[in-house]
């Protein structure tokens, strides 16, 4: 996954102004930064939801602008807000993804296993409109991970999620890394980012200001370093 000089503008507003980012197969990268730093917009570009205004974005070797479908096939995306169709059930979400991603027959056991790991097995056939925020986040991670994508994009996957859900999400990230996927996790929770990822990229004002090893962000020293990058 390679991002070079990414710019995204919404009218007068420049949401992303010159991000460079490289995420490698078999590694997890955390995307950190304050609100409005451009993390979610960068994720949306990588997922093929928002086209870049300028710059180059390659996902699993595919240019998202020239070959959006190939890029989308390679990606599993958990958006920052909601991410669920309100009047569809989790199973219907999974069926939609399975059909459109052309998953081979026999995908159901993995889907059921994921639902069970995220403790959503009991509500697999209930419409998601009544789900709590945490349940919605957990299901979004399941949907992103279902097809074992080459690129896993998790935007705020830990937001409002209970400890068991956090554990299951960390397992999903670890599984993805072990099978050689590139993982990008956007979060405000520094400690969890360090736990899940090996590399950290910090965005500020729509641009990247630092890239370092996750270990450099650990502990009080790391917290101070991170704090200084935010101002």
């Amino acid at each position: 996954m390679e991002v070079r000089d990414l710019h995204v503008r919404f009218g007068e507003v420049e949401a992303v102004g010159g991000v460079h980012l490289t995420a490698y197969a078999g590694r997890a990268t955390a995307l950190l930064g304050r609100n409005g730093a451009g993390k979610s917009t960068t994720m949306r570009v990588l997922a093929g939801v928002v086209p870049p205004t300028s710059g180059t974005v390659l996902v699993a070797g595919h240019d998202v602008l020239r070959h959006p479908m190939a890029a989308k096939r390679a990606v599993g995306y958990c958006p920052d807000v909601g991410g669920l169709v309100p009047r569809a059930t989790p199973w219907e979400h999974l069926q939609l993804a399975a059909r459109l991603r052309r998953l081979p027959a026999g995908w159901e056991p993995r889907a059921r296993d994921l639902l069970e790991r995220f403790e959503l097995g009991d509500v697999a056939h209930r419409v998601t409109a009544g789900f709590s925020h945490g349940m919605g986040r957990r299901l979004s991670v399941v949907l992103a991970a279902l097809h074992e994508p080459e690129v896993l994009l998790l935007d705020e996957p830990f937001d409002g999620v209970d400890p068991l859900g956090v554990e299951a999400t960390l397992e999903v990230v670890a599984d993805a890394r072990s099978r050689g996927a590139a993982v990008l996790v956007s979060t405000h929770l520094r400690e969890l980012a360090i736990e899940a990822c090996s590399t950290v990229s910090v965005l500020r004002g729509g641009a990247q200001v630092a890239e370092m090893s996750a270990l450099d962000m650990a502990g009080e020293e790391g917290a101070r370093a991170y704090r200084s990058l935010l101002d």
Binding site: F10, R44, A47, G48, V49, V50, P51, P68, M69, K72, R73, V75, Y77, C78, P79, V81, G82, G83, L84, V85, P86, R87, A88, T89, W91, E92, H93, Q95, L96, A97, A98, R99, L100, R101, A124, H125, R126, V127, A129, G130, S140, L143
Partner: protein, 511 residues
């Protein structure tokens, strides 16, 4: 010496606060109008149009005289009663009227049910059915009464508009309160069926018109055409008193309804659906998802029931023939599009971001959404036609082809317009509540006016063709209509496939 405030003092303070809160919320809404200049121009045009409708007909030849003007004046009391019916049905269908602020953003503010009730009253006129009735009433009063009683008659008509709207609101809150009781939904449905059957029986027994002649609105008209008299002052006083009483009284059922849980909305949000086999094509799976988003939503279910059955029952009671019935699919389709079609991409809610990341052609997604909208509109129109046609006998070949052509034309027309507006003006809307609308109230008025105008004109054309003895003619004429609307739909489809346009819509609708 007692120092506590009396309950009346507290009540008055609460009412004053509720009124002030309505003002605050209105200013908040007005500040979010996307094009303030167009909004102000629109308001001015609306005010001028209303004034013109209320005054100009009085200066037309024959106004206020014997003949047609007198007939119009004689029908005025029935029109007044009809306005109450429209206000009641409209407010009941929308679960107590429209919201000044949607439920989720409103939940963090201390907005009282009284404020909610007053806000719904203020928004009630922003509804094409209400506006058309009101304009018809003012125009008819102007023409029927002529120049001399114009001021007194129009004052009475305006006051009646307030009375009808406020009474509609009282009934709507009461029905909503009952609906939220245990077995309340069944009770309300039974009551509706009984009311419809009663009206039908009265009509079949030829007693409906004599009954309408007895409605008290006859006195309102009779005492307002004689100029400024003591009796007219009495009418004005009574209408003012009724308005005030209804506005104040409406707060009581509003409070009672708000304290209870909306069972139908909660049931929809927690219901389970059995897993079905995986569809065999991308389009089929998209259609299934979109159909679920439409048919599992309370406002769509309730709105469709009112839209499909209401005009059908009116046609049945009015004993309309097939030539007249041909107008109805246009009106029903327009109403159906206003339930979600004019902001069709809001169906996915925040799931739109995830759906957009799935590897499927944007064109297929568009086709699925347009198709689901079309079948929703056709279903409503067919129910209306089936009901309305019960007393209309067997249609002639020309009537049949005219009806089929009309159905096809208005469906393509309305779907085309709705998909075009959905792309141009997306809004983040949660269609969970029966009170939710897919776009802000003023936009809804604009959409509904344009849809009503275009479909009514189309209806008049095909209704006229149905009188001729040429069954092929309606089908031939449908071709250019469908080609024109179809071409516009195709252009919208092309614009949707542009990733920049699509991203704007998806990100806005998921906000």
């Amino acid at each position: 010496m007692p120092t506590a405030r009396s309950w009346t003092e507290g009540l008055l303070r609460d009412q004053a606060r509720a009124v002030a809160d309505v003002g605050t919320l209105l200013r908040f809404r007005a500040a979010h109008v996307r094009r303030p200049r167009a909004f102000r121009v629109g308001l001015l045009v609306f005010a001028l149009a209303t004034a013109a409708i209320a005054v100009v007909p009085a200066y037309l030849p024959g106004a206020g005289g014997p003949g047609r003007a007198q007939d119009v004046l004689l029908l005025l009391p029935t029109a007044l009663a009809g306005l109450v019916l429209v206000a009641v049905v409209s407010a009941v269908a929308s679960g107590g009227g429209r919201e000044l602020l949607a439920r989720d953003p409103a939940s963090i503010h201390p907005i009282s049910p009284t404020t909610d009730h007053l806000g719904a009253l203020v928004l009630a006129p922003l509804n094409i059915a209400w506006l058309l009735q009101a304009w018809t009433l003012l125009g008819a009063a102007s023409y029927g009464g002529g120049r001399e009683p114009l001021p007194t008659l129009q004052v009475a008509m305006l006051l009646w508009l307030v009375v009808a709207t406020a009474v509609g609101q009282v009934v709507a809150w009461t029905v909503e309160g009952v609906r939220r009781l245990r077995f309340g939904e069944v009770g309300v449905r039974l009551l509706t069926v009984v009311a419809v059957v009663a009206v039908l029986l009265l009509q079949l027994d030829q007693r409906l018109v004599p009954l309408l002649d007895q409605v008290p609105t006859v006195r309102v008209v009779a005492l307002s055409v004689g100029g400024v008299t003591a009796a007219w002052w009495g009418v004005v006083g009574a209408l003012l008193g009724l308005s005030l009483a209804a506005v104040v009284l409406g707060a009581v059922p509003a409070h009672l309804a708000t304290r209870r849980v909306p069972h139908d909305e909660l049931r929809v949000e927690s219901e389970s659906h059995r897993a079905r086999p995986l569809p065999h094509s991308d389009l089929a799976v998209l259609l299934r998802t979109d159909r679920g988003s439409v048919w599992r939503a309370v406002p769509m279910r309730r709105g469709l029931a009112v839209l499909a059955i209401g005009p059908g029952v009116v046609a049945l009671v009015g004993d309309l023939d097939w030539v007249q019935l041909i107008i109805l699919p246009g009106l029903v389709a327009s109403g159906g599009a206003l339930l979600f079609g004019v902001n069709a991409w809001c169906l996915d809610g925040r799931g739109g971001l995830w759906r957009e990341s799935l590897p499927v052609g944007a064109g297929t997604v568009f086709v699925a959404r347009a198709w689901v909208l079309a079948e929703f509109l056709v279903a409503a129109s067919l129910v209306t036609m089936a009901l309305g046609g019960l007393r209309a006998g067997v249609p002639t070949p020309t009537e049949t082809t005219a009806l089929l052509a009309m159905l096809a034309v208005v469906t393509v027309q309305v779907v085309g317009a709705a998909m075009r507006w959905s792309l141009a003006h997306p809004y983040a809307v949660d269609l969970r509540s029966a009170r939710a609308t897919p776009a802000p109230p003023l936009m809804m008025v604009g959409y509904s006016s344009r849809l009503a105008l275009s479909t009514t004109m189309t209806g008049l054309v095909f209704s006229g063709l149905a009188r001729l003895e040429a069954p092929v003619l309606p089908l031939l004429l449908a071709v250019p209509f469908i080609c024109w609307s179809g071409a516009r739909l195709v252009r919208t489809h092309e614009r949707w496939t542009d990733p920049v346009q699509r991203a704007r819509v998806v990100v806005t609708a998921a906000a």
